[in-house]
């Protein structure tokens, strides 16, 4: 470690906070431009999809249990299960598969 750890932590916290807070405080009014509005409307879907796949495949002990959790999650969400249900049942799929089928 070159500097005091707390100095590093301060820099990390400061930069991260500024990135998060500046758009929220500076953009005060509704953006009227249709293209920018549309872009921001699509951002969450693309970001969350990109973050989920393929990263989920490496999240568990085996690719197969993770793939099963992915399919279960998509199916449950499609048929109307809420956040908590989808989340917990995906975990349960991984746990059961790894525990009892050893995959």
């Amino acid at each position: 470690m070159r500097y005091n750890v707390y100095l590093y932590i301060l820099v990390m916290a400061l930069v991260t906070y500024l990135i998060r807070v500046l758009p929220l405080t500076l953009i005060r009014r509704e953006i009227r431009n249709v293209t920018i509005r549309s872009f921001l409307f699509y951002v969450p879907y693309v970001t969350l999809a990109v973050m989920t796949f393929p990263a989920i495949l490496d999240a568990t002990g085996s690719t197969w249990s993770a793939a099963a959790a992915l399919l279960a999650g998509i199916g449950l969400a499609w048929w109307g299960a809420g956040l908590f249900q989808v989340s917990v049942l995906s975990c349960a799929v991984v746990f059961l598969l790894e525990r009892f089928l050893q995959i």
Partner: protein
């Protein structure tokens, strides 16, 4: 849903619970990384209380143990967390124009993938107390997970850690899949996003791009293309073409 703070805060607590559980598991592994980088339990917990960003903290701990310069640290945080800039821009449009500066500053403290995803999927304008409720349960989960990770690294059985780590992805799916059922444009967008993300992580040259950079790059590219091809005309809604297509059915 009544539009008052208390009800939204309570809903935030409820919806924040799965987030908190997922965070706990992820933060646990983060704590192990912090310990390996030479941080004490107090330092790691403090970091998690102040930051709440998994990739950012992982990268930060790596740089600390490598003895990086403070400028390098700042640059790394900028790149790893740049996606939050996009999320905050999107979130700014979800806030009512009368939302106070203090509330904006508090929401900005905890724009995470999960809290953002859940907030953005709430109907209408965002009541600040909804994310506040989620923060109230998820920040303690994140910080205590980090703390325990440092203190008792390998006590939780691997099977439990393994199972808990898909929890966050399950939440992402619960956010993006229901709208995909209603709009073929969104469904297509999700398929394209996952496909390209897969290619970017596997193809020889492209896979050298860090995961943080990949998220930013693909988000700007794909959401940008979609904005040009399928502009959203009306309030908070599904693109016109899509509705016309559904009417025609």
């Amino acid at each position: 849903m009544p539009n008052d703070g208390k009800a939204w805060f309570a809903k935030g607590l409820r919806d924040g619970l799965p987030i908190s559980m997922g965070y706990f598991a992820v933060a646990f592994t983060l704590g192990i990384a912090a310990k390996n980088a030479g941080l004490t339990a107090f330092q790691a917990t403090l970091t998690s209380l102040l930051i709440n960003a998994s990739a950012g903290e992982f990268a930060g701990f790596t740089l600390i143990s490598a003895g990086a310069s403070l400028l390098e640290m700042a640059a790394m945080m900028l790149v790893v967390n740049a996606r939050y800039l996009l999320m905050s821009c999107a979130l700014s449009q979800k806030l009512g124009s009368q939302t106070s500066l203090l509330h904006r500053m508090l929401i900005g403290f905890d724009v995470t993938d999960e809290i953002f995803g859940v907030s953005i999927s709430a109907p209408g304008k965002l009541n600040p107390y909804y994310p506040f409720g989620m923060m109230a349960v998820s920040i303690p989960g994140w910080a205590s997970g980090t703390c325990l990770g440092v203190l008792m690294g390998n006590v939780l059985p691997a099977s439990v850690v393994s199972a808990l780590s898909v929890g966050l992805y399950g939440m992402f799916l619960a956010v993006i899949i229901p709208p995909a059922r209603k709009s073929r444009i969104i469904a297509g967008l999700i398929a394209v996003s996952m496909g390209l993300s897969f290619l970017f992580s596997k193809l020889p040259f492209l896979s050298r791009i860090s995961s943080g950079m990949r998220i930013i790059l693909l988000t700007v590219l794909i959401a940008g293309a979609a904005a040009v091809l399928f502009p959203v005309r009306e309030e908070g809604g599904i693109p016109e073409k899509e509705e016309a297509a559904q009417d025609a059915l």
